[in-house]
């Protein structure tokens, strides 16, 4: 089975090609092509995982290019980490394919949507299966393009077009860093193969300074892709894409690729304490930063987007403090519950007839029961309430941070965990409890739409994900470290921290504080919603405007570059090209002036000719006298 792992990305690729060619004929039947392909991939992934649990990895490569004496190969590889990732990606992808069948129903580009989804699944699975970091980078960029395509799926909306561009460009900045990191890796370690790189690092073939530079360059790529501060700005805007896309790409899989990248290159990062610190602090800053914005945002998808950014920050913190398993474990559980939350929000938006402002929602609990219950499960999971998946993974992250003996990090992470519980329950209460507010803001001509529960093709994925969000955490609890052993076996990723016994009640307490506060404000109304905004209106405004980072980037990077371009263009046209044209005009002018001497007077010509001839003769004579011409 394991040697057929290459089939896993090939199924979606086939689906993509089929849909590209026959999409117009298939119309909405396109969904079946995608679903079948993903089901096949999922089945294969399961087989691969089971075989991998009991056995060995597998690697197969072919020659890709030779330059000089260097040969680069491409192929596929099954390791413990990517066997796990395969399951995560195919599961979420399959469910999203199912969900979209109804969600995208009636869209005139329905087959195109499915072809993009298939292409994305192919790229993401290819990324996961990559045996070397160059191939990973290739698929890394491909998933970026798919993200661009899917965010811009509703291209006729200017916001969607702008968001797609922004997403691509922002991640591109990180990618250039990653690209440079790759090139340096190849130059200093002689290969893109993981084993060779790690061997070179371990044997001290590369000086520490260069390891740090390479690790930081690679991390820059992860910062872009995983939407870490300061390159996180694209992810909230990417919510302009269809909601299933947000669930698949911008929550569960692609954005986690950055974390995955750090995980894959972990021995390299471990070799540089500077790089580890940078990873940890970037993660921590991102976590608290995004969580603070999520506190005040009112768009259901954007709150989830900021929570994604924040959770990715958690994973980075875990990795940066030596918690290899913790980070990747959270990556897995987060994939499930965040996909659940996003699809749940998709169901809400669908039921609300494409409105997504939580101020217009409320009281949906009775109107869409299944969505509400599954959403609650997801919320409990992300808030870190036992026994839901998020609790276990967050607990190991806390253990890992605690183990690193950095009180600042621990404080930040604790506060952020509480904030997470708070803003997620704020979202839940505002959406599902209280009174329905959808009719409060009706404009003239609009009439009441009754929210309704989504059909079963949408709720079944929710239920499946809810089950996963409950049980996925049990693979790694303080009582059984199954995942721990599976992932670290045969890998040199350092000792994994297993937290003190007080951490379990501690993390429960954190979650409860957040939830209780949200309960008081948004359910009970004991504390007014405006209490905190009135307490510090300035802070509230800054948070609402996302710390003005978009404006800052526009003023500091975008405008100066465009203006520089304009200045250069002026120089190009008037000075550089001006010189060229001036030369032309000068030549032309000289020709004109000289041509005026041609009067047409035969006798003048004759006279000049004769004088010229005489001059030549005189010159020849003179030269002869001087002894030239022998």
């Amino acid at each position: 089975m394991i040697e057929f792992a290459w089939l896993i990305p090939v199924f979606p690729l086939l689906a993509f090609v089929l849909l590209l060619l026959f999409g117009r004929i298939l119309k909405e039947r396109a969904a079946y092509v995608g679903i079948i392909a993903l089901a096949a991939s999922f089945g294969t992934s399961l087989g691969v995982l089971f075989e991998r649990i009991g056995g060995e990895g597998y690697k197969y490569v072919v020659r890709w290019i030779t330059f000089g004496e260097h040969t680069i190969t491409m192929g596929y590889e099954v390791t413990a980490l990517n066997a796990m990732m395969l399951i995560v990606v195919t599961t979420v992808s399959l469910l999203v394919h199912l969900f979209s069948k109804q969600y995208m129903h009636g869209d005139e580009r329905f087959p195109v949507f499915y072809s993009y989804l298939a292409l994305f699944s192919f790229s993401m699975l290819g990324l996961v299966l990559s045996p070397n970091i160059l191939q990973l980078f290739i698929f890394w960029e491909l998933v970026g393009v798919c993200s661009f395509l899917l965010v811009g799926f509703w291209y006729f909306k200017p916001e969607a077009a702008a968001a797609a561009k922004k997403a691509f460009l922002t991640t591109r900045i990180g990618d250039v860093g990653l690209f440079i990191g790759l090139v340096l890796t190849f130059i200093y370690m002689g290969s893109f193969e993981y084993e060779t790189i790690f061997a070179a690092v371990q044997n001290g073939l590369v000086e520490d300074k260069m390891i740090t530079i390479i690790a930081l360059c690679i991390f820059l790529g992860a910062v872009g892709k995983s939407a870490q501060f300061p390159l996180h700005v694209w992810l909230p805007d990417a919510m302009e894409g269809p909601t299933p896309v947000s669930a698949l790409i911008h929550a569960a899989t692609m954005v986690a690729a950055g974390v995955y990248l750090v995980g894959v290159m972990y021995p390299l990062f471990l070799a540089s304490s500077t790089a580890m610190t940078v990873v940890a602090y970037t993660g921590a800053i991102t976590a608290i930063f995004a969580a603070s914005i999520a506190l005040v945002n009112t768009d259901i998808k954007r709150v989830l987007a900021y929570s994604t950014v924040s959770q990715l920050g958690f994973m980075m913190v875990a990795l940066g403090t030596g918690g290899y398993v913790a980070g990747l474990f959270h990556l897995m559980t987060h994939a499930f519950f965040k996909a659940l939350l996003f699809l749940g929000s998709g169901s809400v938006i669908y039921g609300m007839h494409h409105r997504q402002d939580i101020r217009e929602m409320g009281g949906l609990w009775s109107k869409m029961k299944i969505t509400a219950i599954t959403f609650l499960i997801g919320t409990l999971a992300i808030a870190g309430v036992p026994p839901f998946a998020g609790f276990w993974s967050k607990e190991v992250i806390l253990a890992s941070v605690l183990d690193s003996n950095d009180p600042i990090l621990f404080t930040i992470i604790s506060i952020t965990a509480a904030m997470t519980a708070f803003y997620m329950f704020r979202l839940f209460f505002k959406t599902f409890t209280g009174k329905y507010r959808g009719d409060d803001h009706l404009e003239a001509g609009e009439h009441h739409h009754e929210p309704h529960e989504s059909p079963s093709v949408m709720t079944i994925p929710l239920i499946v994900l809810a089950i996963l969000a409950i049980f996925a955490g049990f693979v790694n609890t303080p009582f059984s470290h199954a995942l721990d052993h599976f992932l670290t076996e045969g890998l040199n990723v350092g000792e994994q921290a297993h937290g003190a016994s007080w951490l379990v009640p501690y993390s429960i307490a954190i979650a409860v504080i957040g939830i209780f506060l949200a309960y008081l404000i948004y359910y009970k109304g004991t504390i007014s919603e405006n209490f905190f905004p009135n307490l510090a209106p300035g802070v509230h405004k800054v948070l609402l405007n996302k710390y003005y980072l978009d404006e800052l980037y526009l003023a500091v990077f975008v405008r100066p570059v465009v203006n520089l371009g304009k200045v250069l263009w002026t120089i190009d046209r008037f000075i550089i090209d001006g010189i060229v044209n001036l030369t032309g005009y000068l030549t032309k002018g000289t020709g004109y002036v000289i041509s005026r001497r041609h009067t047409g007077q035969l006798q003048t010509y004759g006279l000049v000719t004769i004088i010229g001839g005489l001059a030549v003769i005189a010159l020849a004579f003179l030269l002869r006298v001087r002894g030239y011409f022998g």
């Binding site: 005026r596 009067t599 047409g600 007077q601 035969l602 006798q603 004759g606 006279l607 004769i610």
Partner: protein, 102 residues
């Protein structure tokens, strides 16, 4: 025996008179006649060298006959052009024939 320098001097004088005529006279017929003068100056040179030059031989005389023939043909062509020109432009004043201007 007349020394060769005298022949050459005569030819030179004749050539210069011809040249002067070509460059200064405005009447095209006179210009043509002046050209004939220059050709004849050359003929004198050829004949002189042919009979009393350092390598005297018959080639010079033969050559001068060729020149005379060519000159005759040339005069014919020249006069024909001159007439055609006069028909078209109603003038054979050299100064007015400036179609070759820039």
């Amino acid at each position: 025996m007349v020394p060769i320098t005298l022949y050459l001097a005569l030819a030179a004088v004749l050539f210069c008179i011809g040249l002067y005529g070509v460059l200064t006279r405005r009447h095209l017929v006179i210009v043509l006649v002046s050209v004939e003068l220059m050709l004849n100056a050359v003929n004198i040179n050829l004949v002189a060298f042919s009979s009393i030059g350092p390598f005297a031989n018959i080639t010079g005389q033969v050559f001068s006959l060729f020149v005379i023939t060519v000159a005759a043909a040339e005069a014919a062509v020249g006069l024909a052009i001159l007439i055609a020109l006069y028909r078209n432009r109603k003038s054979i004043d050299v100064i007015k024939q400036d179609l070759m201007r820039w």
